[in-house]
């Protein structure tokens, strides 16, 4: 997070200068570059996957079932990562799985970020009974066996896209609330906030125009890391058969299906797992770097 003096300084330098400096620091960090490559690949697959797919992910070729990847004996270029027990193209399935996993993770992050930030701002700035009660809820999360709750909710309510998003969002919002609240508490008594209040700015204007920009750096760091956590959680639910729908290939359910063929067709389990790993690693690397540049004392 930027100190107020520094924040004023950066605001006064031109946007172009600031972004050049940001970009230079980015290029100097190997972790950030690798992370960005993974994230871009993931986003690329999400956006252009449907166009690029060589064969529709769901197309069946029963006479070409369980083909090995291209680099093994018997592999063909038509199925670069091999095919599954129904002769579906594994690469195509992984690419279409990207859409599901990443869309869900990002949508859930948006929900929990909005909810958590609003609650954190409110309870940090206004406090009061409601603010304190809301923060008590975040304490509850520490003792809450969330994974069990998620399994239970998914089992009763049945599979569904929005249900998974709600479950993921519920698991994430407390982190935002806690961090935004503690930073709002710090900012509330700063000179610039007093000045804004004295000049007659409304409460909403003070919170959103003045305080929010000064706490948003941490929120962005948290959101980046949170996408990674959500991809893992969604994959876990899908692995247990409690994801969006058993018929939609998602990375987690592909690992679960491939497990039955682990002795004969290892690629069915290994490659979807690596897809999860690399996309999660990408968001984690980026988040780690963003945290480092926002807090120079951290990590160096």
């Amino acid at each position: 997070m930027l100190a107020p003096a520094q924040a004023e300084h950066t605001a006064s330098t031109t946007g172009a200068k600031r972004s050049t400096r940001f970009f230079r620091r980015f290029l100097r960090s190997p972790g950030a570059v690798v992370g960005a490559v993974f994230v871009l690949l993931t986003l690329f697959a999400t956006l252009f996957g449907p166009i690029l797919e060589p064969h529709a992910a769901t197309a069946l070729n029963l006479n070409q079932a369980l083909l090995p990847p291209i680099f093994m004996h018997g592999g063909t270029a038509r199925f670069p990562l091999g095919s599954d027990y129904l002769g579906r193209n594994l690469l195509g399935m992984i690419v279409s799985g990207t859409r599901i996993s990443v869309d869900l993770a990002v949508l859930a992050v948006v929900c929990s970020m909005l909810l958590g930030t609003l609650i954190g701002l409110y309870s940090g700035y206004s406090g009061g009974v409601i603010g304190n009660l809301l923060m008590r809820l975040t304490d509850l999360q520490m003792a809450f066996p969330f994974i069990l709750m998620a399994l239970t909710l998914m089992a009763i309510s049945g599979p569904g896209l929005w249900k998974v998003i709600v479950v993921l969002a519920l698991s994430g919002w407390t982190d935002y609330a806690r961090i935004v609240r503690s930073q709002t508490l710090q900012q509330r008594h700063m000179l610039y906030v007093n000045a804004a209040q004295a000049s007659g700015a409304s409460r909403a204007r003070v919170i959103f125009r003045h305080i929010l920009p000064n706490v948003s750096d941490s929120v962005i760091v948290l959101a980046t890391m949170n996408i990674a956590v959500n991809i893992l959680l969604e994959a876990g639910l899908a692995f247990l058969g409690l994801g969006i729908s058993p018929s939609t290939p998602s990375w987690g359910s592909m690992v679960a299906d491939g497990r039955n063929y682990i002795e004969t067709a290892w690629w069915l389990t290994v490659f979807p797992g690596f897809a999860i790993f690399f996309s999660v690693m990408g968001f984690n690397l980026l988040g780690d770097w963003l945290r480092d540049i926002n807090d120079p004392s951290h990590g160096h």
């Binding site: 520490m142 069990l148 990674a228 876990g236 497990r259 389990t269």
Partner: protein, 308 residues
């Protein structure tokens, strides 16, 4: 404020939290869908069959009355009867606790055995190649899907090399792969904590003084630095229990380990709601208790901390 008063206050707080958790799981199960209807899935149930089942299970009573029955039972040590097996929920859970405790302890020990050396070495030479590798290792640890890591270890050590069993319980060999999976996942979080905490401590004057006095380097690291670095590590342990629990559920399912996690998964699959409810409440109680123990350990570790 003295210690006894602090402990009493924390215990009251813990009870409130457990009660709240029980209300939330109770209401959530009944509001997100009809347990009776979802239990009869697959047989195309008639309205009458659902109503009969609802009545038999007591689900046709008002919500508060159902909760009252549950709460009074819980205070008498009964958590209800499993729909699926007809056995008391409390004894079903009790029979699985040992296996989960064994796995948790083994996993935490393996995790610490990896995390402490990695974290300390990384902190001694910040920004070196060793540190970079340690940071990549830690990030990889939190980026692996835990269920997939378990399957990969099975593929390598059980399927390909045939060194260790892929599942089982009761032999030391059967514990190795589950504990390793859990330990690898935890070591990612733990080594980051150890590293940043050691970095912080090594900057202090007393470390420089100890070195200037000519104290041997490993004594400085273990005696002067590590002892103080442990305090934040212990404090943050509370926040890793959630990750530990999540890890345990998936590791138990993958390795068919007969603990609470696999029991929970079976209960969810069978829609055995009294059992699910019981497991959530018992796990929440354990989490609260462990957090309390961590906070007390924190007080004992650091004599400078005063109760506010």
């Amino acid at each position: 404020m003295d210690l006894a008063w602090y402990v009493v206050r924390r215990l009251v707080n813990a009870l409130v939290v457990i009660l709240l958790v029980s209300v939330i799981v109770f209401v959530a199960i009944r509001l997100t869908g009809d347990p009776a209807a979802s239990m009869l899935q697959g047989v195309e149930p008639t309205r009458q069959a659902i109503d009969q089942l609802r009545h038999a299970l007591g689900l046709d009573r008002p919500l508060w009355r159902q909760y009252e029955i549950f709460l009074v039972g819980a205070l008498h040590g009964s958590l209800g009867t499993s729909y699926d097996t007809g056995q008391p929920v409390a004894s079903l859970i009790g029979s699985r606790l040992g296996a989960t405790a064994l796995l948790a302890v083994a996993g935490v020990v393996v995790g610490a055995a990896i995390a402490f050396p990695v974290g300390i070495i990384a902190a001694l030479k910040p920004n070196s190649l060793v540190d970079l590798s340690a940071r990549v290792f830690a990030l990889a640890g939190i980026s692996f899907p835990n269920f997939w890591l378990g399957i990969m270890l099975i593929t390598i050590f059980s399927v390909a090399l045939r060194w260790l069993p892929a599942s089982g319980y009761g032999t030391p060999q059967a514990l190795v792969l589950p504990a390793l999976t859990l330990g690898l996942i935890l070591s990612g979080i733990q080594s980051r904590l150890v590293r940043s905490s050691m970095l912080e401590v090594l900057r202090h004057d007393y470390v420089r003084t100890a070195r200037a006095k000519g104290v041997r380097e490993w004594v400085v690291i273990v005696h002067h630095a590590l002892r103080n670095a442990l305090i934040p590590v212990v404090t943050y342990m509370g926040s890793t229990f959630g990750a530990l629990l999540g890890g345990i559920v998936f590791v138990e399912v993958v390795f068919s380990w007969p603990g609470i996690g696999s029991l929970a998964y079976q209960a969810v699959e069978q829609r055995d709601f009294p059992l699910v409810q019981g497991i959530v409440v018992v796990t929440a109680s354990l989490l609260v208790l462990m957090n309390l123990i961590v906070d007390l350990a924190y007080l004992l570790l650091d004599p400078q901390i005063h109760l506010e």
